[in-house]
Symmetry: C2
Subunit: 709 residues, 2 copies
């Protein structure tokens, strides 16, 4: 298993002193030719650049070397741009020479059928044996904009001219390049890694690198699939430890997307719900579209979210003011109440018919008065009662808008509070250009701006609440289930006994092999009791008449025995029957919840907790966490449920035993950790929770364990 | 009350032969000067244009007239651009001359405090007395792009050069102008009415006009508030009758938005939920942002949604293909299965490593082969198994993208199936311009494109299902409650008797004045019964111990009497007590639902129907309709509930009596219509519904009636 490299290791790949280009070419449209142009004409090489091509002695006035072996020094990075058939030989040469990093641009490997897959596997073996790291193959290369270094064949690299604190890690090149083109809108992306087939280095490794890279403040990633869940989690932990936000767009929220992404990247595909839950747990800001990725990254690059969350709105159209205020409200965000001195200044300076309370509507009449705009916008932007100012610009109005753009730039100089101009028009005029040149990346609609502010605000709240906290002491077994081995459904009694051994409270229960024993057990427990068929072959007991509840006395126990046996034998004549499980009935009242655990193929064991009973599937009032839980996780899970107010004692009901519920979640987490290699799935549904002091008890338990083949 | 004008009436305002401009000016930046420029330099006047200004004899080489009275003929429209102080006098002059329409650009009326409000009122009186119609005041004017006529002072009018089948009706000018600037993206807007203070003509009137205007196919509206609900509904009905989609952005979804919009337009503000429900009922396509308004309008202008709803995706980047497929899936839309001949063509022409099943990923390698792209895109676009083709373009790639744009234009020539190019890059290059010139208005992100397609598809489904149907036979009283009059809570028994008189089935119930009478009544009904305090002063009976359920015999009735009386006297010593309401208890099992009716200040009586009981507030599983209901409405309401599958008999429960539920909804609607002038509010919660044949019964009833003061 490959270990995730430290940042220091990758630094030599990302900011190398000495580079070799193997397959350098003078054909301008070839991969080798384009890469050569990017390196020579558009890059700054810190040390040496060696061109390798056995068929030439010189290329564009530079010496050409016949092989890696022949170079006067060992390069930090060898960029490989030879045809697929020649890649393995070059890789072997590099391994022999001790080159630490290969950037393999060539395609025709894992993405190109079985033969390519074999070649890719061989490439990995060569690299592993030599301790050499590979980036690619089948990738557009690596763009270090902040160091002005383009180890890439992309003809767009010469236009990638806006350095900045945003780091971008993607798999495919097309979507990544799309994000890079957001530089047109003033977004400064300092580093772009596009990892292609990920034979060795993965998106996760570059997130890990960026988490401590001094020139990167904000990490952005596009994921089509995840090759190695634990490696990604380690990277995310490192980003959280360093206070850097990670903004992610993950394809695969629907079956169509999963299918298309899987055929494109051959990554693992877990469930979209689990993926989003893990992202939330790790503080990853998940977005739904590329424009949202860009808007959000820009806002974080501009400023980290302050504790003061309220928003100011400043504009010159009443309708736009109302639309923006509305979007603030529907986003669940707050409009600021201006400080008295702000209000006074606005009142004294703006005309009578202007709206001076937040949102400010100056009216279009004063747009030509740049001084007045600067003063009033300045007053709003320096108001201590807000954390950002939205400045929606509905119109491209020529000279008036140019003047407004100048004013926004000037006002921003006077305050650290970010002004977010929203460019709503499809006409991108001079004013727009001025804003972009001034370091603004205006979102293109009110809704998109609010989405960015909302995500920014929520991440700030998450971080102030402690963020991800210390790295987890225990590393759960997160590898997908081994192919070998069989899975077995434990019987309900087995499952409950196993849970009881782990200290999970349960109602008294025992299996009776005869009618008489059933009655004796029930008499011992006290009534009412529940009787359920005990059979390894019956999972959905109530569907075949295998359950009786509210049994009030011994006579009813015997009746229940007869009824259940008859019904089960009728529906499942072949089922092996151990007898009846007799269980004390839960007290009346209380709520029905559920706790489930599954093993996600990417991330490992995940707990699902939420509302149980008949509404469970319709309402999907559930929350999820990667295991193990910490006490804070259990607390949060209970409070995240939409139905939490009911647990607090709504509608005349007494408050539920939330403390016992949290203890149960933690106990289940411990149970899973103790059985992490074998536990495939468990389902406690319903979990009964009574009022304070009455406890929380799983009433049914299904556990599926992996057993050796 | 002003009657909504017929289209024929407004045609003379919108496409006048003869126009007078009162307040024509040679000061280029004045309202009168700018309007003059738009009329003379940028408009086509069908008949005569008269300039009126008593201080001039000539303006820009044209004769000036001293007054409206002095004109040689009566103009169809007088555009008024004089200062506020002079408007009333001009209006009187116009009224005397018999001018049918005024366009009043001047501001300083209703929006400018009490004095302005008085002047505006006077304006209305002058107009009403003369049968003259007013557009404005405080508006930017009226732009008839299709007739190339700008009765507006907007300096942007000279750029409004893209005629088309989209009609736009707005209140404020700022947001409306923003939509107009979408012409930059190829969106053809043929007519823009921006109605300002709406002293007379409203947005609704222009929607009504557009509903039958031959040059308008798609109606778009921005609403900050609604002045007259029934007038809007009549317009929407007319649009539906003519098969024209109405796309609306309504500000006021949150309290912030409502407050800001109200201060801006002085319109009525109803509840956002009611507004959205009425829109849905009338087939109005509600959008959340201006870019969505534009994307959706363009798509409808391009093509009406076909019965074949499946979607094709054609692009040249694997990541983009996956992202787009994902968005199709999360939107609940379907990817098409290509016809065999399409698949064969793609298979034979595209390279091995391309993805040929939907989504098509040609890979970037073949982008330079225009013929190949045209053939394969052409095959997809003419495939009979799909209704539209998404062509996401992730990158601006110079000449390659130009070639792609040409190909898309060519492919579109060969098929009526719309191709929707999605321009995802922030770099708007030559390829983008080519698409726009070719009549495409590319959405700017995958998510936004899908939102447009989703709304387009849903409207098509709504229309194929019969749309709005015939105009309603009865017009409900929808005027807001009169200021006079007092409201009274009927007692539960009064309310139930009133419902019973209207033929609504209820459980037997009677009020007992003494303990003994209570027992007698209960004995007569048969047990179990429910006892509830009967008092005009107690609404929330259970909160003060005023309810006992499950009373099993006569002794328990007497006990209930004592307990309830003691508890109510303890909590509410001053309450007048009529006795105990004894009611037969509903059978066990069944579901708890709720039916409520409120009077919306804009639209009138609205029914809310949905899940009752403890989950009602948390889950908000409700649906709403404007009354009266038709049988199809009742059917749809029951089926729109998220919990409908439970009513169908999920989880081993028998199916609920859905037919009785529908009858109850219709009966409540009839009841409301019969009491429409006095009914303020009613709340049947819970409504019990049993299994098939058992019926649907309101268990509690609160009715609030308006009584004369």
């Amino acid at each position: 298993m490959t270990i995730s490299p430290h940042r220091a290791d990758l630094a030599r790949l990302i900011d190398p002193a000495c580079i070799a280009l193997v397959g350098a070419s003078d054909r301008p449209h070839s991969i080798g030719g384009r890469t050569l142009t990017n390196l020579i004409d558009h890059s700054t090489i810190r040390g040496e650049l060696y061109l390798v091509n056995p068929t030439k002695t010189e290329l564009r006035g530079r010496r050409c070397w016949p092989s890696i072996a022949a170079l006067p020094q060992t390069p930090d990075v060898a960029i490989i741009a030879v045809p697929a058939a020649g890649v393995l030989a070059v890789a072997e040469e590099c391994a022999a020479r001790g080159v630490p990093f290969l950037v393999i641009l060539t395609s025709g490997f894992g993405e190109a059928g079985a033969e390519g897959e074999r070649a890719q596997q061989r490439l990995k073996e060569i690299a592993d044996a030599a301790g050499m790291r590979i980036y690619g193959p089948n990738c557009p290369g690596l763009c270090n904009i902040n160091a002005r270094l383009g180890m890439t064949f992309s003809p767009s690299f010469p236009h990638d001219l806006v350095p900045g604190p945003i780091g971008l890690a993607t798999q495919g090149g097309g979507l990544g390049r799309n994000v890079m083109q957001a530089m047109e809108r003033g977004v400064g992306i300092g580093l772009w890694a596009s990892t292609g087939n990920e034979v060795d280095l993965q998106v996760a490794d570059f997130i890990h690198y960026m988490a401590t890279a001094p020139d990167i403040k904000v990490i952005v990633t596009l994921l089509e699939g995840i090759k190695d869940g634990p490696r990604l989690l380690a990277a995310l932990q490192c980003a959280a430890d360093n206070g850097k936000p990670v903004i992610a767009l993950k394809v695969g929220k629907s079956e169509y997307g999963q299918r298309a992404a899987q055929s494109h990247t051959a990554s693992l595909t877990g469930s979209a719900e689990v993926n989003s839950a893990v992202f939330r747990q790790y503080g990853v800001i998940e977005v739904d579209d590329i424009d949202e990725l860009v808007d959000t990254a820009w806002l974080f690059a501009r400023a980290m979210p302050p504790a003061q969350e309220a928003i100011g709105i400043y504009c010159s159209s009443g309708g736009t003011a109302a639309l923006t205020a509305d979007a603030v409200g529907t986003s669940g965000l707050k409009l600021a109440q201006f400080a008295p001195h702000t209000r006074e200044l606005l009142l004294s300076r703006l005309p009578d018919y202007a709206a001076i309370d937040n949102p400010v509507d100056t009216t279009a009449a004063i747009l030509s008065d740049a001084d007045l705009i600067e003063q009033t916008l300045g007053a709003v932007t320096t108001d201590p009662n807000l954390g950002c100012v939205l400045a929606p610009i509905a119109l491209e109005y020529g000279a008036t808008t140019v003047s407004l753009a100048h004013t926004i730039r000037a006002a921003q100089q006077q305050s650290p509070t970010p002004i977010i101009p929203i460019w709503m028009s499809d006409r991108l005029g001079e004013g727009y250009k001025l804003l972009v040149e001034g370091g603004f990346a205006p979102p293109r609609s009110v809704g998109k701006a609010l989405k960015a502010v909302q995500r920014w605000t929520e991440w700030g709240r998450w971080q102030r609440a402690g963020g991800l906290g210390e790295a987890r002491a225990t590393t759960p077994a997160r590898s997908p289930s081994p192919a070998g081995g069989t899975v077995r459904n434990l019987s309900e009694l087995e499952a409950k006994q196993l849970l009881a051994q782990s200290g999970i409270a349960l109602l008294p229960a025992a299996v009776a092999a005869t009618r008489e024993e059933a009655r004796r057990i029930a008499d011992g427990m006290g009534y009412p009791v529940v009787a359920k068929i005990a059979s390894p072959d019956v999972v959905h007991k109530s569907d075949i008449g295998g359950v009786k509840v509210g049994i009030a006395d011994g006579a009813q126990v015997e009746l229940a025995w007869d009824d259940i046996m008859a019904s089960v034998r009728h529906h499942k004549p072949q089922a092996a029957i151990d007898g009846l499980l007799i269980e004390k009935m839960a007290p009346r009242g209380g709520f029905e919840l559920m706790v489930g655990v599954t093993r996600d193929p990417v991330f490992g064991h995940v707990m699902t907790f939420g509302l149980g009973g008949i509404y469970v599937e319709l309402l999907r009032d559930v929350t999820r966490r990667l295991l193990p839980l910490r006490p804070a996780d259990a607390r949060a899970m209970v409070r995240e449920m939409r139905c939490y107010p009911l647990l607090q004692g709504a509608r005349g009901k007494p408050p539920a035993d939330v403390a016992a519920l949290e203890r149960l979640l933690l106990a289940v987490s411990d149970f899973v950790m103790a059985h992490s290699t074998s536990l495939e799935e468990m389902d406690l549904n319903p979990v009964w929770v009574g009022s304070e002091g009455e406890g929380a008890l799983p009433l049914d338990a299904v556990i599926v364990m992996l057993e050796d083949a």
